[in-house]
Every structure is written in C-alpha cells, then in structure tokens.
Symmetry: D2
C-alpha cells in the first residue's frame, strides 16, 4: 500500500531531506513539496543531488493539493505550523510537524520561550510527541486512532532534545538519577542545525575552523528536554555549541546519581541501556568502553548511545550521537509517520552511513 | 535470486564501502569480508557505521570460503589482485577487480607504470573493462559469457579515469576533438582517494585547509585514461590535486576542438552529451549552464557531467563529478557485477546523495 | 617614520585583513576604517580577533578624515573605487586600490568584462599595476613620483591573476612559451574568495565537502591575466574552482613550450625560476620535485611556486600557491604601499604561516 | 639583548610552532631544533611554511649544542622530559617543559595517572608552574631566581587545563564557587591536539565531519586542572571532545555557585573577570553577552573568556577559548620564558588571528 505524502516547507534543510527520504520510501509517495519562494523550480535545480532522480518541482502552498495527501509533513518555522496544522487535520490529513509548535504540552511554556501565544491549545491536547523510543506510548495511541480513521497530529522532538533524551532516558527511567540535582548537558551540532538561511553564522568562513557555544541558558530546546525527561523546571543547564561539520549532533549528558542508588559499573549501566533499546531498530547502544561518533550516523535516522561512570563524582556521563537532520528531524518524522500508519518503524530508513 | 558475494580487502576504504553497498543490495548477500590485519574484528568495531546493522566480522583471506562465492570483489593494492584473481577464476567465481592489475590492456604499459611485471598476461586478454557507460560492449560480452556459465573477470576503472572519461567520451566519440592535440586534465580528489593508511598526507592537520597538486606527469592513471579515450600516448597532461573533503572527485577536461569541426554551441554540445548518456541510469548530464558539484553525488554511484565551450580558444571544457569511493570504486564495481549477473545496472545503487 | 593609513571598505574580507596588517605594521598607522553598514561598531565586535587588540570602530565614509591620510586602501567592489579614487588623489593621498577598477589598461576591455563604462580613463594612464614581482617597473616609477611629492595610484592585481602570473611569468619572460598556443589554467580558491556576503554559495553547508568549477570562460580575471602575461586575447582558457577551505589559492598553469625552445629539464627550469625571484622576499620557488601547498602560505603575503615538465607533450606545468586574501589581496596591497613609500617591500609582512 | 634558544623535539606540532615563534621573537634566537627522526632535514622540507624563511635543519639531540643555550624548550612526550631536564638544568640552561612531567606537584599523582614513577621528585619542588595569569607568583619567583643567575625549570600547563583554568579561576578565586560541589567541564579540541603521529584518530577521513568524546573520566589533564584550581580530588567531571578543525580549544566550565554567594548578574560577573585579567595582555574577557570563538584566537597565544549565569540552577557557565598549540602549548611556553627572562610577557606574541 502506498500513501500520498506532502511536505510543507520542502526547500529548507529538513524539508528537502524529507523529500529525499520519501523518494526512497517503499510506502510513501511524494505528492507535493511546497516552497512559496521556489515555486516552479525543480527540486533538482535547487538541490542538484536530485538531478536525474526526480523531475518534481516545488509548488506554492496555495496550489499544492495537500487535501489529497494522507500525511503532511510540516518543515516550517515555529508559528507557521500553528497556522496550517488545524486546517489540514480538519481536512483529514495526518500531520507530522517538525517545528516547535506542538512539542510543549503547556501552552504557557510555549508562550514564555517562543514569545508568542499558542493559538491552538485544544489541538495540543491530542498531539502525540514524536520521539518513538522515549514517548512511544503516545505514538501507539496515535496509531490506534489513525487505524480508526482519525487524522492525528505528531509533534516531533527537536534535534538537541532527541540526542539528549536518547542518552538520558534509560538512566532516568531506571531511577538512577538524582531528581533534586542539576543536569548539565553540553551538546555540539553541525551547521545544518543553523538552517538554510545564509547568515554570518552560517557563512563558511566564519563557521569553518571554529567552535563556539551559543544560547547559553536561553536555548528553546531547554524546556522541551525538561519535559521529555521529567526534569524539574530550571534544573537543566544546557549549552549548545556549533562545530564545523554539516550533519551531526553529539550530546554529552552529565547525570548525578541518586543518593540512594548503588554505583553501577559501566557494564551494568550499559546492560540497562541495552535492555531499554532492545526493540528499537534505529538506536544502538555501543559496547562498554566505546563512545559514539557523529560520523557513524550521518545521513541516517539512526542514533548511537554510549555511557561512562565517574565513580568519585557519582556521575553518569551518557552520550548520544545523531544526524541532526536525520534522526534529529526528517528521519524521525518519517519514523513517526511509519508508526502512525502501522508500518515497520524503520521502513525507508534502512540506510547505513558511509563508513568513511 | 540472491548471489553470494565476497570482498577481499574489505577493511580498506573501497572494500568497506563495498560491504555497505552489498549489505543493502537486493540480489547480493555478503558472505565473506577478508582482512588479514583485522581478522576476527567485527566490521562494526572497525567502522561503527555498521553498529546495529551487521554482526559480520572480518576473516582472514585463507579462512574465507571464497570458493563458495558467486562473485568476489578484489579491493586490494595492485599486484595483490594479480596474485589471487587467477585462482578465483579457476574456482569458478566471477571476479570484479578494483585494483589497477587488470585495467591496462598492454602488459608492457603495466610494467612501465607499475614497475613490476604483469604475471597474468593471458587472463588480461579476457578482462572486461569496468566503466559501463564507456566500455559497455566489453561488459555485455562478459555478461553473455557469464550467462553461459563462464567465470568472468572485470577490471574496474580507476577513480580519476572514471570522472575524466565520463566527461570526455561523448565529445571524443562524436569526433569533435583534435586527435593530434594535447588534452589537459586537472582533477581534484577528496582525501579518501589517498587511502586508509595513516600517513602525513592523510593526517587531518596536513590535509585540512590545504589544496595541492601531486604526481604531475607521473600519476599512474595517465595511461589508463589514454587507453579508455583512445588518446595518443603522451598526449594527456594530467594533474591530480588533493582538497580537504572526504569523498568527491571533480575532473576538468580541456578538449581542443578538431580543426574541421564546426564550433558547437553549448546547447548543441549538451544535446550530444544528453544523447550519449540517455540510457545510463547513473550518469546525469546537467542542464546547459549548470556545472557539477561533487557534493551532489557524494555517497552514491552516480556521476554528474557538465560542459562549456570556449569559443576563442576552440576548446570544450567538460567536467565530471563523482564520489571517488562510489562511482570511482565500490559503486562502479557493484554496477559492473550487476551487468555481468544480468541485473538492472543500478540495482542496490539507488541511493540519492544527502541534498545538504 | 609613520604614515597615516585609511581603509575604505574595511568590513569586507580584504579590508579587515588590511586592518590586521596595518595594525602590526612598523610604519603605517591605522587612522580610519570605513564601513557605512557597520559605522560605530568596534572592529572587535564585528571581528573578535581584534578583541583586546584595538578599540577602533568603523566610521562612515563621509565622516572618515581620509584627507588626512598619507595612503588610502580601497577594498571596495568594482565601480566604487572609480567613484572615490579621483577625489582622494586630488586631495593628495596615495591610493592603493584592491578592486578591479584600475587593473585593465584598456578601458574598453574593462567595459566589455564589467558591463559598465570606465569613468576615469585619464587616471588609468598613470596607474601602477600592483604585482611587484612581475610589474615592478611600474611600481618603481610610482615610488619615484611619490618621492617627488606626487600622489600615486596603484591598481592591485586580483587573486587568480597573482597566483597564475607568479607561476607563469618566469617561463614566459624566458621565451619558453609558445605565443600562438592556448594556455590552460585551472585554479582552486578557498571560500574567502567569494566574499563576505552570506549567499548560498558561501553557506557552510553548501561549500563544505564540495568542489566545483564556476565561471568557465567568463571569469573577469581572464583579461587581467592575459594583460599581465602578454597573452593573446582569447588564448587563455581559465577555469576557477571552489574548494572547502577558508584561505588559499592554487593555480595550475599549463604552458606549451615554444616550438623552437629546447626541452628544459625540471632542474634547469627550476633554476630559471629561482633566478627570476632571487630578489623577491615574498616569493619562494620550491626545490625541484616539490610542489606548493596553499596551507604553507595561508595567513601571509608569501607565495610559493613549483614547476614540472611534461616531456611528451612539451608542456611546462607551473603551480603557484598564495593566500587569496594575503598575497592575493591585502598583503599585496601593503607590499605595493611599502614600495611606493620607499620602505622594505616586506615591511609588516614577515609573518610565517602556522606550520600546521 | 638576544638569548640563545633550543627546542628539543622540534618536529612535533608544539615544537615546530615554537620554532615559528622563536624565529619571529625579538629577543630569542633559534640555536638548535632537535629531532632524532628528522636530523639533517631542513625545517622547510618537513614544514614548507618555513620555505624562504630559514635554512635551519633539525639536528639530533646528541649533536645539538644545548649547553650553549640560555633556554631550552622541551616539546617531548612525557617521561622524555624527565630524562633530559635534570642534565640541562645542571648545565645552567633554563628549561621550559611543555610535557606533563613537571606539572603535577605530587609525584604520586603523576605515577597514578601516567603509570610510571616520577624520577626527579627533588626537581619537582623547584618547578614554576607555567600558566602566567593564574600561577604568576611561581613564575615571578622563578624570574627572581633567574635574575640571580640560577637556571630555572618551568612546567607549562597543558592545553585543556589552560583554557579551563582561565575560564574558571576568576570565579573560584572570588569565592563564588561551591567547594563541595562537582564541576562539570566539557571541552572541544581541534585535531592538532592529538599530535603529529599519523593514526586512525588523526586520519583526515575519520576526523573530518565528526565530533566525538574521548577519555571520559580518564583524561590525564584531570588532576592537573584540579591542582590549578584547588578543586577536591574527584570533584571534576571532565569530558574532552574532538572536532574537525586544526587549531582551537573551547572549554565550557559549569561552576555551581557557593550556597552563601549572592547570585551575581552577568554584568557583575563579567566585571569580576575583567578585573582579574586587567593586567593580562594575552587574555581578553569578552563583553557581557558575547561568547568566545576559537577562530578568534587561532594561530596566537591569546585567550578569550566569556561568562554566563544560569539563575534557576545557580550555575556560572564560564567559557575559555584558546589555540591549543598557541596559548595551550608553544605560545604559553614563550610567554613563560619571557617572564623568566624579564622581558615583556607578550614579547614575540603580538600576532593577531586572521579575522576570517
């Protein structure tokens, strides 16, 4: 069975990766790729990786027949998804949103961090959060509702929350982490994370041969990570960094052990992680003593996780590596759609990263 | 139908990319991956891109049951293929050699450039040269012999010869190029082209932020390019360069127009190229006015070609872009195997490069 | 003795490098750095390399007291230098122009390539071309006129013309090159060559991990190279390429030997080059068998040149490496100013590139 | 006055940078550069940045007349400095050691982390630790002893300890940090930090387009940072990362506020930092709201520091950026030598990083 898929905002980095994934997907067919700015332009002109692959052109949002789509992916800036999701749902399309608009359960937290009111608080109540390995129950319910003929809405996790949560969740869910302590997360992203807009930050000559931190204490993924992991508000010290690579995100998560938790050995901790992800086809816990490299998952929807234990400080150091555009955005969106449509969750996501 | 495939020299850059491609191939199954140095090591330990993908480990050449393989890929240094190919052919395996050992038709040219005698000159006579879009007739004959139950030997083109020949062949075959003139080729390769060996040349800190030429007038791909394109010996001035990227090879080919050839417009020339490759699923001639980027084909077996015309100098500038490890090595080897086994030539090679 | 220096267009890549060089120059003092867009902004805010080094801020062109400057460097787009140079000269300032406005001797060639009339053809007659090692006589005359109290105008060579001419001039001046033949130049530049403007071309994610050719047959440096080297109009086939590095430019020049020239050995050719540059403190001819790397001159005003000979094709391959912003722009401008002001030509330009 | 300087281990990355710095230093003269492996090879052959700059060749350690040197820099692996420093001191040379051999005050800590006994514990007592802005008193004493004719020994700080301590010291010295808490430091280094040896880790194709953590909880700079900052043993959770750039190191330091310390505003904290470094010519505290970029200090001996405050978690986030080979190694060694010899501490270290 094949489902018609539309992409709203297909010219951005997450949108065009969605186009690539859907073009190679066994059960989705790319029916529309919208970009008001590039309407009429073949995908292959804007992104020559598609030359010889597809003749599809971008269309305007207005002209795209999204009502005919079974699933619509929203790869748009925040607030833009708020504007279009309700109508699409009403038309009966399942919506997988990659923006921040439907991630935060509490509309007041959204307003606080995004400085704009949330205009669809009712819709928010039925959103399934899209980080399958951690919030799978919500997706399972959405799949059931979808199977019953309902249009569902998925709010996919952001890139930093994905890598961070995949690294932290098994330890937290196992009760190993001190709920009263501060969690320090330092993460490093490639430059695709800064988006397609040509700015000084994304200029090759400024990004190249440079590492820097940004948005210390103010990054909007902070409340999202706290929500996913059930951390106290304000207990996460999250510092994102930019490094000179295209695709890749590494999150180093420092988790203080709960006072009453016995110190696990690395092997014991690794075992806990292995069990947590034993049914997750796209997440691999690396063997004890091995730490993840972003290059190993670049270009894919896969995640690698590795763990270490600092005895003296009673700290778990858990590290997650993803491709910020893959598992951190487009790949995860496809994975969520797969689940909602009752397909194998890794359908169309079997690509293995180039080994070198 | 599934065929058993073995890779000799699977730990090198071309070998491990073969492993990746065969792991995702609908008709080949990876039966053996040899590396005497890494025997016993899981592929996923040496190349963590395979973590969670395969449990296969490298085996020694001696232990690998290559006799049970339908096809054996040789991803070994030159002379090593000379040593093992004859025995494999005798055992009935089809051999696809990625080394230089079976590329040059004339064993004396081999000896001249590789400073070692060719020890299998008889085998050389039956080799099918592996650059399907240019030397397809040889591969078609090999496929016929294979269909008749014969073990065949393919000598795959090198990376520079592939990009250069794909750029030059349509113009030369159309009789547009002055056979008495000198052809200047300047090509740029990513660092995977220098191989897996850790040397000063491949050290990040020396390769990064640097461009340099090397092997001016002495690169061993020179006679191979002359052979493929039917150029006079000594008429090719070939200068390879190294640039700081992993995968990608761009060849800029300067072809003097034949004195009697009317000056083609770029559109006319483009049309000649389009026709030449109209049945080639993996080669795309870009629209007039568009030039190839290596990034657009990175990680794939695809090639992009673009052309320009310099009126005053009566020169065709033809540019070919490939992934040196993809279409320039492992991807092309799989493509050749596909042809020999009667499969669609792009089977298992449908991947589209990440658009960004 | 210290001279007051002003920079018009100091916020661009060449302009800000001029600021860095002048800040460390023993005889020039940075009196004004103009940028209408960034007026009032400290240099250290726009370019934090200056943090802790200088408190100077950009000023508007109108407010800058350029009339008080002994020398004014114009680091502006073409046509902008045409607009301001005449007035500055009239005010008595020596002008060193880094734009293309005063490079081409023939105003009609300027109009043909830059699609705009040359509005100061009279001034053009007195311009000293700024590529000291090749057009030193013009600079010597300018220095004499300057010593006599005259304001002089230097039109500095472009980046590609600099590397290409340094590589080609010794062979051409020695009469080794066939004046009737075509000269093929393939050159590779780092991304600073594309300027500070944030565009898709300069976006990290498009430039990184990519090599491409551009402007084939149409690059505006073509007539400039022909002029410097005395090549016939239309005899230069020049293809620039972009590679993923910040600073560095390599030009590979293919020079057909004159029919009557005896074939030189590489050592003989190297000797000719060594002699040509024996009094040039900033140009080094590498030993026979050694080819230049852009990394070796990055961040400096130095140039490295290497040569090879292709016997069968009777071709000299001469390769020049520079930093496109250093010797290719700001460094060369300072070198020219040094000469005009009677200073050692390498004053303030002694920096050695980081060895790794 | 000019002093003779020798470099032991001049062929490594820190050693050759020392050669570059000393070649441009107004008061030191490069008298010997040893490398047993490259003895007889000109510096310019191994590192072509020196072509046209110096004719000096590497000499063996045995042949180098180090006894004639006023100062000897040891840029050797740990244990090698232990072997040669005592003899040099005895011969009357002042020794500036860049290895780890004389950094740790307690020989048993050295033995614990370096798995080898410290063979010169007596010498250890007189070592001046080399991180001038933080341990300046030790260097001042060494300068006094040197002025009195004594040969002194400086044990220079490592790269991670330098960036980390520069970021953390002002807050700790001001009593703002909770002495009983855990300090989390996540740092990112360029690949020169991994040394000149060609390994899989330093291979371009493995390091490029990749970020990874390594040595979690086990990196040998851990006790050194604890010592410099006076942290409790075991209270530092230090995770170094590798990113794809040549030179640059960013340390993000998470400092929990002391329970009794009033929460400072960022501006107040910045003011504390400004005062701490007001007499430090090579350390710049960036304005409030600005965070350091490694690119701004690459190629120099400068450091940039920036701070932020996380109110809810009562955490200071202090970030230090250096060039790991500059301020993190060779530049700092020269700075220490300057101090010992009574020169301006920034003599020969005035270079400003390329702004782009």
């Amino acid at each position: 069975m094949t489902y018609k898929a539309g992409i709203v905002g297909a010219a951005g980095f997450a949108g065009i990766e969605l186009a690539r994934l859907i073009a190679g997907h066994p059960h989705f067919e790319l029916a529309a790729a919208t970009s008001d700015a590039l309407a009429g332009t073949p995908l292959a002109s804007a992104y020559p990786a598609f030359a010889g692959v597809t003749d599809l052109a971008f269309s305007t949002h207005a002209e795209a027949n999204l009502a005919a789509c079974d699933v619509v992916f929203l790869a748009v800036p925040h607030t833009a998804a708020l504007a279009v999701a309700p109508g699409l749902i009403e038309q009966g399309a399942t919506v997988v949103d990659l923006s921040a608009d439907f991630r935060l359960k509490d509309p007041s937290v959204y307003e606080q961090w995004y400085k704009t009111p949330h205009t669809a608080p009712d819709l928010l109540k039925q959103v399934a959060f899209g980080l399958p390995e951690v919030t799978g129950a919500e997706l399972a319910q959405a799949a059931a509702r979808h199977a019953a003929g309902e249009a569902v809405l998925v709010g996919c996790a952001g890139c930093y929350p994905t890598a961070t949560s995949l690294a932290a969740a098994p330890a937290i869910r196992a009760g190993l982490v001190d709920a009263s302590a501060t969690v320090v997360v330092d993460a490093v992203s490639g430059v695709t994370g800064a988006g397609k807009k040509a700015t000084e930050r994304t200029h090759f000559c400024f990004a190249n041969e440079n590492v820097e931190a940004y948005g210390v204490g103010t990054h909007r993924h902070t409340p999202e990570i706290e929500q996913i992991l059930g951390l106290r508000t304000g207990s996460l010290v999250f510092t994102p960094h930019l490094a000179p690579l295209n695709r890749g995100l590494l999150s180093t998560v420092n988790l203080p052990l709960a006072p009453d938790a016995p110190l696990p050995s690395v092997a014991e901790l690794n075992e806990i992680y292995q069990r947590f992800y034993e049914n997750a086809p796209l997440v691999t816990v690396l063997p004890t003593g091995t730490l993840p490299k972003t290059a190993s998952v670049a270009g894919t929807a896969r995640a690698h996780v590795g763990v270490a234990v600092h005895e003296a400080a009673r700290m778990i150091i858990a590290i997650g590596a993803i491709d910020n555009i893959g598992k951190g955005a487009a790949g995860q969106a496809v994975q969520c759609a797969n689940i909602v449509f009752g397909l194998p969750e890794e359908a169309g996501l079997n690509a293995v990263s180039t080994p070198v």
